[in-house]
Amino acid sequence: MAEASTWPLLSLLLVLPLAGALASALLRRPPWAQRIALGSAGLTLFCSLLVVYAFDAGDPEFQLLESAPWIPGLNIRYLVGIDGISVLFLPATALLFCGAVVAGWRVSATASPLAPGLYFALLLLLEAATLGVFCALDTILFFCFWEFTLLPLYFLVSLWGLGAARQRAAVRYFLVMLAGGVPLLFGLLGLAFGSTGGGVPVFDLPTLLVTPLPERSQYLIFLLLLLGFGVKVPLVPLHTWLPSMAMGAPAAITALLVGLKLGAYGLIRFAIPLAPLAARDLHWLLAGFGTVAILYGGVAALTHSNLRGMLAYSSLAHVGLVLLGLASFSVYGLQGALLQLLNFSVAAGGGFLVLSFLQRRIGSTDITQLGGALHSMPRLSGFFLFFGLAGIGLPGTSGFPGELLIIVTALHDHTGAGLAALFGMVLATAAFLSPFRLAFFGPEKRPAMAAAEDLLPREMAVLLPPSLLILTVGIHPLPILDLLRPTAEAWVAALAGL
């Protein structure tokens, strides 16, 4: 384990959005709340880039560790740190939240005259909690951050969501996630007590990783964690909250919900390495869930008439691909999975941001209401196409290397599933291109479409960085793969060494 960092960079990363949230909640004047929110989101992004800069790519251990006793009576610590698995999620998250803040620029002021800053405060609170999920190395701390994401989401959806069903969707999401938290907590507690044999419970991840569990309890814990994370991923039978949230949440929030794959991260970080025997034994379960998700997501996306629903379901297919990559437990598979997750948070996040801009102009993202958007909004259409193609994994975009790695390893290890995944890619392409054609080409059906203005400079400014990122990584993925490799190798070695 690397020595504790001299500068609490990660704590700073967590505190910045919190401070921003507090400031924008207290400010009475909307313009200032917006500026403060954007400022602190930007600072957080900068800070997350600093973290990447400070990260030593050659070292597979946890880095930038910070540790302080929190509840010594229960041996629970404030322990944060990053490794190659988590480091890139931080800037991706920060970038996505910058976009979400801009996307909420006018939304916030219209819905609730009472608390103009509240929207941004909740958004930044969510950002702090999400970053915390990626940084936390104490399982209870992780669980706390995990649950803290629920409350801001609940309010964001039920106060600023779309349509009459939004409140139902928010409550449903909250309850489903709470119910998912139960097996998760039990899994983490089981880990804490299982690895000591009745002594002091162990909650810190670095220690847990080197103390193997008895084989029998590994299965139980792996399944509990799979269930807990699976609700968030979402795995296919547990995905029922997704469509209603995708339709009910404000588009920028959907970008966060769909773009940030906390569930998959949890599987990579906790479930698989902490119960390695069970995970290796149950690889067919992961691969099966993955394949089902790829096919189901593809078909469901194909039938959806709303662009947001379409993107939400294709995210289901993407995360299925990630699971399939994980199931092979190889370096390439893991690299591909991580790359795919990162790509998707940028591409799907970007896509949803474009949709939120569209929603604000037209008042709908339903295909039947659109048509001919290309004429009045060429730039907006172009960005949407670009993000969509990146999501499909067009060569030259960042989606390609990840998908290639996953499919190659899947064909090698689970040939049937790999073939299904190939078919799923065809489905995904069709599911994106056909609604795109209907919505953006063709004649303008409604006068509102002709009158709509194209992207504003500040919206362009938000969409450009992710686009550049997608292109850069797509054309030259080697630096990122190198950044991921040492940790990925250590991760796989720990699994293979059993």
Binding site: W70, I71, P72, G73, L74, S112, P113, L114, A115, I140, F143, C144, E147, F148, L151, S158, L159, Q167, A170, V171, F174, L175, L178, A179, V182, P183, L185, F186, L189, G190, F193, P201, L220
Partner: protein, 499 residues
């Protein structure tokens, strides 16, 4: 069993002070006129009580499970002492006393000074229950508290159905109280039988006599049901929804539910005194409690009134506390007692906030509420955080407590029933959330104009803010409370040597 004399720790008899200070205040206010001076004086007494409690907390020795600050007066069989567990409850009772003394005053239609004086008398009775080592004193103080709360229900009922609420309340409570006294008599009688003639209700004396087989189950059942009615535990909760639905909006329920003396009584008297019977009957109690978690969750779902819904949420959560208590495991005991205090505080916040809502809307029926968030955001958020604390959300003291209870429960009863219980608890919380949504976030009904909902007043900010501060501070930094109760629960768990 041993104890530390008060003079060894403090310069004044602190437990007597805790009991006499509010009683003196209450009696003084009873004879005073209804004016501002009396109000200020009453609040001063409540604050003074909190100061004494905090002073006591500063002096308590947490490293030992031995009872401390002991006071005895043999003439009246008066025997008081405290350990970490009682300290926790004492702090809560004193805090609630302060909150209620500030809460109750804004109501225009009742005589605030009289209410305040009754509050102080009840607080004094609570302190007696939390400190006494004598079962008869416990029962006596319990009777005083019930009589005064019954008077409150009768005097200031908020609706026509008051009579039903009052009679249900009295039927249940008188019956429960009689069971409690009968249990105490059985114990004292068998004690006298063994010792040879001398009766005693003192915990220390009763523990010294060898435990007697055939009376123990009887004593256990009498005491358990007596306390379970107070708690209230499924299926003995029948009085609660009625009195919560029709009685005083906030003050009455808080007095009954804020400080869970039933749970405290179980930990202090029932578990050590009838340890063998507790082990025999443990599976039945736990099975009932597990059913109770679900039953109450289902009942909560069917309520159309916010207050009745909260009452069922309480029943559901109380069952969880009892499960923790009857794991008879050190972690479970500690978790259950912390949970009891957490729930007390959480339900207090919620009841007080519902009281504030009622002042504005004149109803707590879910159909007729809505859109409150825009007008009174602070009250909304305070209510929500109270609800999240009931749920055991991380960041509230409920989280660590629940997780201790669950740990112990997995170890004692296995994973499946524990997971089922936890899910039932989530369900009950879910209905609370659903109610929150309807009352605070849903569109405002037409007969509830926005203008009628006055903005949050300074006093409301103070009461809500103080509770929230305590709740969140204890949630993010639970270490002191864990340390406070650690050795006391260890010595309680020592009665139940673990496999």
């Amino acid at each position: 069993m041993s104890e530390i004399w008060w003079a060894a720790q403090v310069g004044y008899p602190p437990l007597a002070t805790l009991q006499w200070l509010p009683l003196a205040g209450g009696l003084l206010l009873l004879v005073m006129r209804e004016d501002d001076l009396a109000l200020v004086l009453g609040r001063l007494f409540a604050v003074g009580e909190l100061v004494v409690a905090i002073d006591l907390y500063a002096r308590i020795d947490v490293s030992t499970g031995v009872l401390q600050f002991a006071e005895r007066l043999d003439l009246f069989a008066y025997h008081a002492a405290a350990d970490g567990v009682s300290m926790l409850f004492i702090l809560l009772a004193a805090l609630l006393g302060v909150l209620l003394s500030f809460y109750g005053m804004a109501r225009q239609q009742i005589s605030p000074v009289q209410l305040l004086s009754l509050l102080l008398i009840i607080e004094s009775a609570q302190m007696t229950m939390l400190t006494t080592m004598n079962l008869l004193w416990f029962a006596g103080a319990s009777a005083v508290q019930l009589v005064v709360v019954g008077y409150l229900l009768w005097r200031w009922a908020s609706a026509r159905e008051e009579n039903l609420a009052l009679s249900r309340f009295l039927q249940y409570q008188v019956f429960g109280w009689a069971l409690l006294v009968a249990g105490a008599v059985v114990l004292a009688w068998s004690h006298a039988d063994v010792i040879g003639g001398r009766w005693s209700f003192d915990l220390f004396d009763l523990l010294r006599t060898p435990q007697i087989g055939k009376y123990q189950s009887a004593a256990f059942y009498l005491l358990f049901y007596g306390l379970a009615i107070r708690t209230p535990l499924f299926p003995l909760h029948g009085w609660l929804p009625n009195s919560a639905g029709y009685g005083l909006i906030a003050v009455g329920p808080v007095l009954l539910l804020g400080v869970k003396v039933g749970i405290y009584g179980m930990a202090r008297f029932l578990l050590p005194l009838t340890a063998e019977a507790v082990i025999i009957w443990q599976p039945y109690v736990v099975a009932f409690a597990m059913v109770g978690v679900f039953f109450a969750a289902v009942m909560a779902f069917r309520q159309a009134n916010l207050r009745r819904l909260m009452a069922f949420a309480v029943v559901s959560h109380t069952s969880l506390i009892v499960i923790g208590l009857f794991t008879l495991h050190p972690a479970g005991l500690q978790g259950a007692l912390l949970l009891a205090v957490n729930f007390g505080l959480a339900i207090t916040v919620m009841l007080l906030m519902v009281g504030y809502v009622y002042r504005r809307t004149g109803t707590t029926s879910l159909d007729r509420l809505g859109g409150l968030f825009d007008r009174i955001p602070f009250i909304t958020v305070a209510f929500l955080i109270g609800g999240l604390a009931l749920l055991g959300m991380p960041g509230t003291p409920g989280f660590d407590a629940v997780h201790l209870v669950l740990e112990a429960s997995i170890e004692t009863f296995g994973a499946l029933p524990t997971i089922a219980t936890a899910l039932g608890n989530v369900a009950a919380a879910g209905f609370l959330l659903w109610a929150f949504q309807r009352a605070f976030l849903a569109p405002r009904p037409r007969d509830l104009p926005a203008a009628r909902i006055a903005p949050t007043s300074a006093m409301e900010y103070f009461v809500g803010g103080a509770t929230l501060l305590v709740l969140l501070a204890a949630g993010f930094y639970p270490e002191p409370w864990l340390r406070l109760t650690d050795s006391a629960t260890q010595s309680l768990a020592a009665y139940f040597p673990h496999g």
